[in-house]
Symmetry: C2
Subunit: 165 residues, 2 copies
DNA sequence: TTGGAATGTCAACAAAGCTGACGTATTATG
DNA sequence: CATAATACGTCAGCTTTGTTGACATTCCAA
């Protein structure tokens, strides 16, 4: 009994291949967060602080509502994180100019230092991985991740992406 | 002033590209867990239960220590999850045959039903993404994820992968 | 027979999510 | 102008999932 189909084109969608994809995501995400986690343990901060710092660095002057939408948490949860960062002078919260109800968020010098420390570690891992596999594979990696996002998250991802070109 | 280098080969490692990779991982992981999370909310289970169920389904008869190593949590944390699953008759814990200190873990019929429900949902999302981008991109996706793992996790990933062929 | 391994369990705690309720500016709107 | 809606902050309490530390049991192996 020989193969009826083209092989590669159909076989890559078997349940087994999909399960391997699932496990790859699981293990890779652990590696992805491992270095920043290590840096933050001991400090009074965690992964939630890292995420906030990352997106404030990425979109300086963003307001709380926007950050809320990107992070996908409640304002109470974000506020707890943001409060410690503001108290510790890593983040500055400025009253809005056009709309004074809004707060615009910026990293302080000190905040930018921590941000760089964290993102250097995370980028180093990604850079090593990217270098190992080559640009072709990286392109595929990005395509799959983008296709995997929820539609509204994909919109936000491209928003941030396109606003920093 | 014209380009001195090949472009693609060096540009794909700019900090901007790496940051986009980081954000792609963040948003994609959210999508990756969204469907199982939705299914589990309302039941008394969470993501931790899903992970345990997944790897027990994947390696039936695995012992606690092995599961501990794969999941990367403490035995106390795993035990809490495992206990509820055993109490609810989703997981069976059999005393080891060769080494009676060990417990071998299996899904019950009922457990297998839930496992299928969860993994069908998760696989459906991955399948859709994979179909959208094509086998070439999927291959790149897998390569990058594997390169991103910690060395010991990569070993475990391949162990599981190769044991179910 | 004795030390170490595998497992289970108790207690206490922390990080980070959640809901609900409420207060206070500020802006928008009828 | 009065009122509604928005943006933000905060209090209280709860859940999930992780952590340490301590201790008991069972069993394998030297």
């Amino acid at each position: 009994m020989h193969d009826m189909q083209g092989g590669e084109d159909l076989l890559f969608l078997t349940d087994e291949q999909l399960r391997q994809g699932i496990e790859a995501m699981f293990f890779a995400y652990r590696g992805f967060t491992a270095d920043p986690d290590r840096i933050l343990e001991g400090m009074a901060y965690g992964r939630a602080h890292h995420r906030a710092i990352h997106f404030i660095a990425r979109a300086p002057g963003t307001n709380v509502n926007n950050l809320l939408a990107i992070l996908g948490v409640t304002k109470q949860s974000l506020n707890r994180v943001l409060r410690t960062l503001v108290d510790d002078h890593l983040v500055e919260s400025r009253v809005g100019t056009s709309d004074k109800r809004e707060r615009h968020l910026f990293l302080t010098e000190e905040g930018a230092v921590l941000e760089r420390l964290l993102s250097d570690a995370q980028r180093a891992r990604l850079r090593a991985a990217f270098r190992t596999v080559g640009p072709e594979a990286v392109s595929g990696f990005r395509k799959v991740l983008e296709a995997m996002m929820d539609a509204d998250m994909r919109r936000k991802y491209f928003d941030i992406r396109d606003s920093s070109l």
